[in-house]
């Protein structure tokens, strides 16, 4: 289906055209999608390390019962910042980085539609990150109300809360601009013959994601602004004393928040679909149904938000509606898992690092999907809500889901980006260590949650001690394993075996028709896709 060729035989090697400012101005002023993509990826990895250090501090405190390392107030600040930084600073920018690099290459466009806006949407990120991290150093410290920022607890916070609110505004503007760019590029700049239903699945997943972002980021910005006016300007949206309702916040937040979790995971679906097909040397099974499934997940994601709020005291009819609606999301998600399995069936499989991460993704994301199903059942959720079971569930989807798919994509396209092959053996070690330590960290948290350990507590009863200890050891193993990835990427940029234009024999798509490394300018003359 995606058998694209450069039919016009145009020479695609344009190294001589690399005229751009040198030094730091190249990066500040750039409108080149590859430069901006690289900056997004580096930024997200840096934030991943910052958020990871916070996670390790949290896990250290939880290594044994009692307060040893941090005090409860600071502990709450760490859990809050860890969540905000990982979701908005690490995972989302990582996939925007992939989109910047790969979308124009995959659809045969010379760049993103709006180069300067693209530049601005990246350069808004560092100030937002500074606000978030900097909030730890102001009087009162960082926000300590959890990444979900439920009032009235947010009303009690110091100015760190206001910094987080402004950071969210800025991040929202950045994501919306990025999404406008992606949608415009996909709709207007596809190569002749590249119909929508011929696009690689990564483009499709980003198209759906971009619409989700545009729909819900304003909602998030709105709800934190209401928090801001409640804090400083005498409104009482979320205070019963003034005629408001604290639970109103949760409804608005999760109307954003549930699509947000799909914003995080859907581009990963795209990466995994392409990687599985490449290393099975077989076209993706059920391309059309994959597209429909992603679109269905996108639409359904707006209809299930209150399953995060079963215990707030909503009427039983509302609980029933949200339970049934949530169950139906399992259907298109199941279709994706079946399609991936069918793609591998009777293929010619090989297991390079991208494939390992993609299979690891499917395996562990399914675990996260099943625990999601368990949580969807209201009566069971009443036992699990706000316990470590939920923490385990969403780390299976966010870490083993989104992060593993990002690793799959990074290893898959590194040869294209750098022109060198990464160290395959080291990549496989990175996968296996990540896989084992990930499960060691998070699988046991299911047990903690079932047994009744609430989340977001700095100290716990004695019966939870053993699993917490295992989890902490796993977390350190997982964190340290990521340094292997950093080392592998850096050595791959600096040298290594020369990568051919198409390093994976089963790969399909326009990005493999340009040389490796991809020249600074590509597809100045659009290819014709048959």
């Amino acid at each position: 289906m995606n058998t694209a060729t450069t039919a016009n035989g145009h020479d695609v090697g344009h190294d001589a055209h690399e005229h751009h400012p040198k030094g730091v101005m190249r990066w500040i002023a750039t409108t080149n999608h590859k430069d901006i993509g690289s900056m997004y990826l580096w930024f997200s990895f840096a934030m991943f390390l910052v958020g990871g250090c916070m996670a390790l501090t949290i896990r250290s405190e939880l290594f044994q019962p009692g307060l040893q390392i941090v005090q409860p107030e600071f502990f709450n600040q760490l859990t809050t910042l860890h969540g905000l930084i990982m979701v908005f600073g690490a995972i989302m920018p990582a996939f925007v980085g992939f989109a910047n690099w790969m979308l124009p290459l995959q659809i045969g466009a010379s760049d993103m539609a709006f180069g300067r806006m693209n530049n601005l949407s990246f350069w808004l990120l560092p100030p937002a990150a500074l606000l978030l991290v900097g909030s730890m150093f102001v009087p009162g410290g960082a926000p300590a109300a959890g990444w979900t920022l439920y009032p009235p607890l947010t009303i009690q916070q110091g100015m760190g809360m206001d910094m987080a609110i402004f950071a969210i505004h800025i991040l929202g503007i950045s994501s919306i601009m990025g999404s406008i760019n992606i949608i415009t590029t996909i709709f207007n700049m596809r190569a002749p013959g590249m119909t929508l239903m011929k696009m690689p699945l990564f483009c499709w997943t980003w198209l759906v994601t971009a619409f989700l972002i545009i729909a819900v980021m304003p909602v998030f910005a709105g709800v934190v602004t209401m928090t801001l006016t409640d804090r400083h300007f005498g409104t009482s949206f979320f205070s019963a004393a003034g005629g408001g309702d604290p639970v109103l916040f949760q409804h608005i937040f999760w109307f954003f928040g549930h699509p947000e979790v799909y914003i995080v995971i859907i581009p990963g679906f795209g990466v995994v679909s392409q990687v599985i097909s490449t290393f099975s040397r077989k076209p993706l099974f059920g391309y059309a149904s994959m597209v429909y499934a992603v679109a269905a997940i996108g639409v359904l994601s707006f209809t299930v938000w209150a399953h995060h709020m079963y215990t707030t005291g909503m009427p039983v009819t509302a609980q029933l509606y949200f339970m049934y609606a949530t169950m139906f999301i399992a259907v298109p998600t199941g279709v994706k898992i079946f399609n991936w399995t069918a793609t591998m069936w009777r293929g010619s499989l090989s297991f390079e690092t991208p494939m390992l991460f993609a299979i690891g993704f499917i395996f562990l994301f399914t675990v996260g999907g099943f625990s999601g199903l368990v949580l969807a059942m209201v009566v069971v959720d009443v036992q699990m809500q706000d316990t470590y079971y939920v923490v385990a569930h969403f780390h299976y989807t966010m870490v083993a889901g989104a992060l593993f798919s990002a690793f799959a994509g990074a290893y898959y396209w590194l040869p294209k980006w750098t022109g060198h092959m990464y160290n395959e053996k080291l990549g496989q070690v990175h996968f296996w260590l990540s896989f084992v330590f990930f499960n060691m960290t998070f699988f046991v948290q299911h047990f903690l949650g079932i047994a009744g350990m609430p989340r977001r507590i700095p100290d716990y009863a004695l019966q939870f001690a053993d699993f917490n200890q295992i989890s902490t050891v796993g977390a350190f193993g997982f964190g340290l394993s990521q340094l292997l990835f950093l080392y592998n990427v850096i050595t791959c940029i600096k040298g290594g075996p020369k990568a051919p234009a198409k390093p994976w024999d089963g790969a399909e798509g326009l990005e493999w028709d340009v040389p490796s490394p991809a020249p600074y300018h590509t597809w100045e003359v659009q290819p014709i896709v048959k």
């Binding site: 110091g158 099975s280 215990t311 293929g347 059942m377 609430p454």
Partner: protein
């Protein structure tokens, strides 16, 4: 090392980890399922969860059985050539429809249980649970025991939390006053909160209900066996969210009646005579108790606080300034901060005592005192 050798090594490692974990699972501390249910609904929830685990397990083994068959048999390394098929409408319809049917079959029994779980009508006893930062208050408002009210505060000593003394068996799951209910009777819990959102959560009773300030929510349970059941606040409520447990004693009807009688006499005995004039020493002694239960979590037993979020009282302008300003902030709280309005939580005598204590404790030596009548006059 060859790839095969790597694989064997990894398998060995995984096997070792699995064995260690199995061995440890034998240890009672490694609980891998719900706490023993103490109500019929909790038992149903337990069973439903097991049913889902079995269904999910079968699907998981099925799907990944197919995938791992491919991984083993369809390898390029064995010289396989890939097939070229890429769609099959029949199969695709089947694996959309069958999961839908399975899901509906799973969700139906849940629907029935949910409706009975949420049914809080016909309760024998109604108790209001109020979440405070960071303790629970209980008011028996209907049924046997009506009129009983008390606060329930963590009783684990600070030294255990800080590691200065060995931790007790019920570390962090123990309180000074247990909630007591009779076995076999339907108990309705009304939840609300004074400051931020809390959640009243007792796993063995299968109850978790958010306590939202300004609103009343409800939940119900009927315990079918006697025992002591422990839970915790389940909604992040600030600094000491992890330190406001819930302990429920389910007792026989006779024991419950005896407990109610005992509480009533106790309440009558400690009720303060509103016209009594207190001496400075009486106020300070009582005030220290009130301070420890209500103020020390933030302002610390030393009065030094945890600035800047929780200011020091020792040497503070308010605690050493005019009485009315000091009383005002304790009664009405301070908007936009964690300082709650204690006027609604504490009696006139308690507020008079704690304010007097704060003005004359640590380095504070104002020397004056507040009588309950002054507090009463200040209340609007």
């Amino acid at each position: 090392m060859t790839r095969a050798a790597q694989g064997v090594g990894l398998l060995r490692l995984a096997g070792g980890v699995a064995l260690t974990m199995l061995a440890q699972a034998a240890n009672a501390a490694y609980r891998v399922n719900f706490q023993e249910p103490a109500t019929k609904i909790a038992q149903t929830v337990y069973d439903l969860h097991m049913m889902m685990m079995y269904i999910c397990g079968v699907i998981f083994v099925g799907v990944f059985g197919v995938m791992f068959y491919s991984i083993v048999k369809h390898r390029k390394a064995t010289g396989r050539v890939a097939a070229t098929f890429h769609e099959n409408t029949t199969v695709e319809i089947l694996w959309t429809v069958i999961p839908t049917i399975i899901l509906l079959a799973m969700v139906w029994p849940v629907t029935k249980t949910l409706i009975s779980m949420r049914d809080a009508t016909g309760a024998d006893i109604t108790i209001k649970a109020t979440g405070y930062q960071w303790k629970w208050g209980y008011d028996y408002i209907k049924g046997e025991g009506e009129g009983i009210k008390f606060k329930s505060v963590l009783s684990t000593p600070r030294e255990q939390i800080e590691g200065k003394s060995p931790k007790g068996e019920n570390y962090l799951l123990e309180v000074d006053n247990h909630l007591v209910v009779p076995v076999g009777k339907k108990v309705r819990i009304l939840t609300t909160a004074e400051d931020v959102i809390h959640a009243w959560y007792v796993p063995a009773l299968a109850v978790k209900q958010d306590a939202v300030p300004g609103f009343i929510r409800d939940a119900a349970f009927r315990a079918d066996r006697e025992g002591t059941f422990r839970g915790q606040c389940a909604e992040l409520c600030g600094k000491d969210h992890g330190f406001m447990p819930i302990v429920v004693d389910v007792v026989s009807a006779e024991k419950y009646s005896a407990w109610v009688a005992e509480q009533k006499t106790k309440m009558a005995a400690v009720a303060d005579d509103p016209s009594k004039v207190w001496t400075l020493d009486e106020l300070k002694t009582r005030g220290e108790v009130v301070y420890t239960q209500n103020c020390a979590a933030c302002h610390q037993p030393t009065g030094k606080g945890l600035p800047p979020a929780f200011p020091a009282l020792d040497g503070s302008k308010i605690a050493t300034g005019p009485k009315d300003g000091h009383l005002g902030i304790v009664l009405n709280g301070k908007a936009g901060t964690a300082m709650a309005a204690f006027g609604k939580q504490l009696s006139d005598a308690e507020i008079a005592a704690v304010v007097t204590y704060e003005r004359n404790a640590w380095g504070n030596k104002v020397g004056d005192m507040v009588q309950p009548s002054e507090v009463k006059a200040l209340r609007k």
